[in-house]
């Protein structure tokens, strides 16, 4: 009984995953980001995002795990365009995680906010609660025009109608890297060994991904940048994505 209580206490401790090996984190340097959207297509290719068609776009039902948000500043001629990639922030205090009645979304020991498609019953509460609006619902079962389905990544599930989905930080790549580390008798995954599809493709190297528990990791160093901030920080969701603000000159 006492061990049980102890376990429970440990579990309930905020940031309980700290004692684990990893806390996956991403930094996005907005001073590098050009809004080219290579990340969006990379994500689509890696994670079997459906081709929803023109009609679904018109209905505002597209599925893009990472999207580029656009904000204009000023008016012509002193007008500026600001891009900000928006993807699941993998919040440590995620509003979506408390919302799901069936635990289809939960926080794993690596600091990832995970989504279990098989468990999802489609209440969509998580999407309502998410302040970043990065959760995408499968309003239909999407199909691929033959033979486009041959491209589908066998490491990633194809989702059916009625299921919520979102960015996983390419958890399949994390798993492969961990397996490789284990095969090599290493305890940890090396820095840079896990690269999500969006980070991999980014032509300006604006996105950096890594384990922020490791002080030597590139991402940890990037996080210390004084330009760093978190989107909607005032909501206290403690996101795992640190943005580095654009420099105004």
């Amino acid at each position: 009984m006492s061990t049980f209580v102890e376990k429970l206490r440990q579990y309930r401790k905020p940031g309980y995953y700290d004692k684990f090996d990893y806390h996956w984190t991403m930094t996005i340097d907005l001073d590098r980001c050009t809004g080219c959207e290579a990340c969006m297509v990379a994500c689509q290719a890696e994670n079997n995002l459906p081709i929803v068609g023109e009609k679904r776009f018109a209905e505002n039902r597209e599925i893009k795990w990472i999207r580029i948000e656009r904000y204009w500043e000023g008016e012509y001629p002193d007008v500026k365009m600001r891009f900000i990639p928006m993807l699941c922030q993998h919040c440590d205090d995620a509003p979506c995680e408390t919302a799901c009645p069936v635990f289809a979304t939960y926080h794993n020991q690596d600091g990832l906010n995970t989504q279990i498609y098989n468990r999802c019953i489609g209440t969509r509460t998580c999407a309502v609660y998410c302040p970043y609006e990065v959760r995408y619902f499968n309003w239909f079962t999407y199909t691929w025009d033959e033979p486009l389905e041959q491209q589908l990544n066998p490491d990633v599930t194809v989702r059916e109608k009625g299921v919520m989905e979102k960015c996983t930080f390419c958890i399949q790549r994390i798993r492969i890297a961990k397996d490789n580390a284990k095969d090599d008798d290493r305890r940890r995954v090396r820095d840079g060994e896990v690269v999500p599809a969006c980070v991999q493709s980014c032509p300006t190297e604006a996105l950096v991904f890594g384990n922020s528990n490791d002080p030597e990791a590139k991402v940890s160093k990037m996080m210390k940048n004084p330009r760093g901030y978190k989107v909607l920080e005032e909501l206290n969701t403690t996101p795992s994505i640190v943005y580095l603000t654009k420099v105004h000159s």
């Binding site: 907005l30 001073d31 990379a42 486009l148």
Partner: protein, 749 residues
């Protein structure tokens, strides 16, 4: 217990037997095809189930020539990533490169040779066999050759580099026709011409954005479409944040904000067509304000006399202060670089404008300097000849020849002039005069639809080939392109088709072109290349070298910079300076707006429109998907009473298109912009009948010096049609409403 009599027993056995047989027969009749989890009992040797393999090859989605790695699982291509050892892409890819898989697995690919059976252009095709197709073509061309009429055979292809280019050339030469041309709408003809004038070199130089501190771009969307976007993006990232404590600055001068304009610190919308003049104004200020210290200072100041900032300011509508400030920053930065492209390189003054920009580089003293213009050494392949780009003038010649009936056989490969030429040059109509049109193509685009015979080519992911990136990266590089998956359909790589045709035509062709396949040909050429360079590098068997090059996908000699770089003479530069103001087709009173067609980062010049991932990728600047739009300044729109979604007739002297309006905050009043890429009449289910093609209404003005099409020199007028159309966007409200989304204001520059 009841007894069973023998008769009963026999009856039971009989009935049972009938039942069993009947059941088996029934079971057999309803049995479905067996689907096995792993279809092969003995799996192919080149893959093991569940294990991914990576093959390096070359991307063909745009002419940049990025090296890519393709992830293969169970013999299927799953993902394209940049080849980390390739000096152009350095492990990165753009959206278009990623979408290459959509081209490979496109449902609208041509799967067998096709023969047109209806009227030309009607799209009625019938499947035929390769034998039949090759015999038809071979005998037709063979007869022409025997009759010494081979010059009536023409070969038109897109931008082809590497040994495929040589193969084409050899084929046409052996045939006895010197009509081998290339046409690529995006080819920087004006830039080549201007550089030839300024620097006296035929090779595109390497623009070292990476090490630049101050980048002045005249219309060149170097992050989206200009020359080598992925490489430039890498360089841009480094320019911004790659150097500790030293953030590079970029300025973009263009009438409509492109991706590069959005990334720039300052976006300046000079009057369209005067960008070159602005460059001269800046040059004037550079010299007069004493930022240039060369010995030829006086000559320069004399040459630039007419372009004082105040005069230039009046013409360009950029304030004098701004010109002076740009000149000061450009002159004082440690590494300044000016580039020109886009609309600046597409006016009637294109060459003059680029020459003016080149002059800026000269005055900044950045030639052959880090962060400046670095002249590429000779390409990696010694045998590579100069470009065979037809340019607009060449296309007009071809059209003339076709109209005059001088063309008997037209071979078209990987280019789509019906789409990428203005309507009124009449390429499509001229094609009607050609007795036999043969398309070597993977997709039924507008030009392929006009063909009599379609020889389906394999995509670049199924073909052998090689490539020399153009521009190079400052040292000799060559990439190998290899098939990453087995050919999906009854298609052949284009090189193999040419070789087959050579065999079919006979004569001396198969003797000289003795290779069975493209692979053999390329390997032999690389072997020759290897033997020539034999002394360089460590001793190694060719096979080992070849294997290593295949694995890496690229071969290069970093550090092998050409010893004697051309030092351009200022006298020739000064002499080439001309008044760079563009003329426009259409009278300003009748056609009050300047049409600004622009290449998009999504579809490039329209070749990406058949890829669903790109159709579903929101336009980077407007977030529009699946369609075309015309961009208007909010003030202009207000004055004309136009709201977003109002369908407008955009009329130029050369034609008109009907397209919905989009209010775009970052476009100069008096300019309307339409993206290039949509508006296909064919090209598969994802592209067909979607949006409009602004190239079609471009007036056929040409650049004064290079003869290239001045596609940014057309005026248009707008007419409200009264119709409305929903523009499909993914964006909601594009203002932050004061919310701290983009981070606290800060200045760490």
């Amino acid at each position: 217990m009841s007894k069973i009599s023998r008769r009963d027993l026999l009856q039971y056995i009989g009935a049972g037997g009938i039942g069993v047989v009947g059941g088996v027969l029934y079971g057999e009749s309803v049995q479905q095809n067996v689907e096995l989890l792993i279809p092969q009992v003995v799996p192919p040797e080149d893959y093991s189930p569940g294990v991914a393999t990576w093959y390096n090859t070359v991307c063909n989605q745009c002419p940049a020539g990025c090296g890519i790695s393709v992830r293969i699982r169970e013999g299927k291509a799953k993902k394209i990533e940049g080849n980390p050892v390739h000096p152009v892409s350095q492990g990165r890819t753009c959206a278009r490169g990623q979408a290459g898989l959509n081209a490979l697995y496109n449902p609208d690919r041509i799967r067998t040779p096709l023969q047109n059976v209806g009227q030309r252009g009607s799209g009625n095709f019938e499947e035929i066999s390769w034998d039949e197709a090759l015999t038809t073509v071979g005998s037709r061309i063979g007869r022409l050759k025997i009759d010494n009429e081979a010059s009536r055979v023409r070969l038109l292809c897109g931008r082809v580099r590497g040994h495929l280019d040589e193969l084409f050339l050899q084929f046409m030469n052996l045939l006895g026709s010197d009509h081998y041309q290339q046409y690529d709408f995006t080819y920087p003809s004006a830039l080549m011409a201007a550089n030839k004038m300024s620097f006296g070199t035929d090779v595109l130089p390497y623009y070292d954005i990476r090490n630049a501190v101050f980048l002045l771009s005249f219309g060149a969307d170097y992050l989206g479409t200009w020359i080598s976007p992925v490489h430039h993006s890498l360089a841009y990232g480094h320019l911004r944040q790659g150097r500790e404590g030293r953030r590079g600055k970029t300025i973009q001068i263009e009438p409509r904000m492109s991706l590069s304009g959005a990334a720039a610190d300052e976006w300046i919308a000079a009057r369209p067509g005067t960008e070159g003049l602005l460059a001269l104004g800046i040059a004037h200020a550079l010299v007069s304000e004493g930022h240039y210290h060369g010995s030829d200072r006086d000559e320069w100041s004399k040459a630039l006399q007419a372009y004082s900032p105040s005069l230039v300011s009046a013409e360009t509508e950029v304030s004098e202060d701004k010109i002076l400030r740009l000149a000061r920053e450009f002159g004082t930065s440690t590494a300044s670089l000016a580039i020109a492209g886009g609309a600046t390189a597409a006016g009637t003054n294109a060459v003059a404008s680029i020459v003016a920009v080149n002059a800026l580089n000269y005055l900044a003293g950045n030639l052959s300097q880090p962060g400046g213009i670095i002249f590429n050494p000779d390409p990696a392949f010694s045998a590579t000849a100069g470009s065979r780009q037809a340019g607009f003038q060449g296309m007009l010649d071809l059209i003339g020849a076709m109209k005059a009936g001088d063309v008997d056989v037209l071979l078209v490969h990987d280019t789509n002039p019906v789409f990428a030429l203005p309507d009124n040059v009449g390429f499509r109509q001229a094609m009607q005069n050609v007795p036999l049109i043969i398309a070597l193509s993977s997709f039924r685009d507008e030009t392929t639809e006009m063909a009599d015979l379609i020889l389906p080519t394999s995509t670049y992911l199924e073909s052998w080939g090689d490539d020399v990136p153009d521009p190079g990266v400052g040292f000799p590089v060559a990439s190998i392109s290899q098939p990453v998956v087995a050919t999906l359909y009854d298609t052949l790589p284009v090189g193999d088709i040419v070789l087959s045709l050579a065999r079919q035509i006979g004569g001396e062709l198969p003797i000289h072109m003795r290779w069975g396949t493209m692979e053999e040909f390329i390997k032999e050429r690389w072997r020759e290349e290897y033997d020539q360079r034999g002394s360089e590098g460590e001793e190694q068997e060719f096979e080992a070298f070849w294997q290593a090059a295949l694995e890496a996908g690229v071969w290069g000699q970093p550090g092998a910079v050409a010893g004697d770089q051309p030092v351009p003479l200022s006298s020739s530069m000064i002499a080439s300076i001309a008044d760079p103001v563009s003329r426009f087709a259409g009278d300003e009173s009748d056609y009050p707006f300047v049409l600004h067609p622009y290449l998009t980062a999504t579809f490039f010049d329209g070749r990406g429109a058949n890829l669903p991932w790109l159709q579903e990728m929101p336009d980077p600047m407007t977030s529009v998907v699946y369609g075309s739009w015309v961009e208007l300044n909010p003030v202009t729109a207000d004055e004309l009473g136009i709201r977003e979604g109002d369908v407008l007739d955009v009329e130029s002297p050369a034609g008109s298109v009907r397209v919905p309006a989009l209010i775009f905050p970052a476009i100069r009043p008096g300019v309307v912009a339409i993206p290039v890429g949509q508006g296909h009449a064919a090209y598969g289910r994802y592209a067909r009948d979607r949006g409009v093609n602004p190239i079609h209404i471009v007036a056929t003005l040409i650049d004064d010096q290079s003869g290239d099409l001045a596609w940014a020199a057309t005026r248009v007028k707008l007419k409200l049609t009264g119709e409305r159309l929903q523009i499909i966007k993914t964006d909601g409200v594009t203002r932050t409403l004061g919310r701290q989304i983009l981070g606290p204001e800060n200045d760490h520059a």
